[in-house]
Symmetry: C2
Subunit: 105 residues, 2 copies
């Protein structure tokens, strides 16, 4: 779900905006020239992905970043990258060995 949440440029922009500090829904909506309701939907997606958390202060909903899912996504990617880089390297090694053994190199 994290990847889906990160796939949208508006949401990434909101996350960027949130690195400057907590923001209300209205403040998040503003730079995108978007309706409250539109921004609210995006925040909901981010919230369900665990990338942000919400705190109610009076009538404003204050949104802040949450780093955990990002760490997880990063771990996932790193693991995969390592795993299949090894695979690709091994494949390459096999090709090289094959070349030598068959005198094609």
């Amino acid at each position: 779900m994290t990847f889906h949440a990160l796939a949208d440029p508006t949401r990434r922009g909101m996350l960027a905006s949130l690195t400057l500090g907590e923001k209300s829904i209205g403040e998040l909506a503003e730079p995108f020239d978007m309706s409250f309701a539109g921004a609210s939907k995006h925040v909901k997606v981010l919230e369900e992905a665990g990338l942000v958390a919400r705190r109610k202060s009076g009538r404003t909903h204050v949104i802040r970043l949450e780093a955990k899912p990002l760490e997880e996504a990063e771990r996932w990617l790193r693991q995969w990258e390592k795993f299949w880089t090894v695979r690709l390297d091994r494949l390459e090694a096999l090709i090289q060995r094959d070349k030598k053994e068959n005198g094609n190199g």
Copy 2:
């Protein structure tokens, strides 16, 4: 575009399958009980995201992994994670300092 490509479970499954070696479209489709055309579409998405590459061998299209975009996505995430973890830590530090200065802690 990488995040969008990674957001679909079928596509992640295909990538997983590809870590075991190169696969044809048909071989990629098979474990998902999916039509050729369906698999073909997913492969196209992965290809456009640069996550896989295609080589034609006779009438079969042979698909292999490409690690580069994964590295980039990982770098992106790592950078962000670091960046906003620092922000969050700084925020926490401010709160703590505030507590001390105002005798609330």
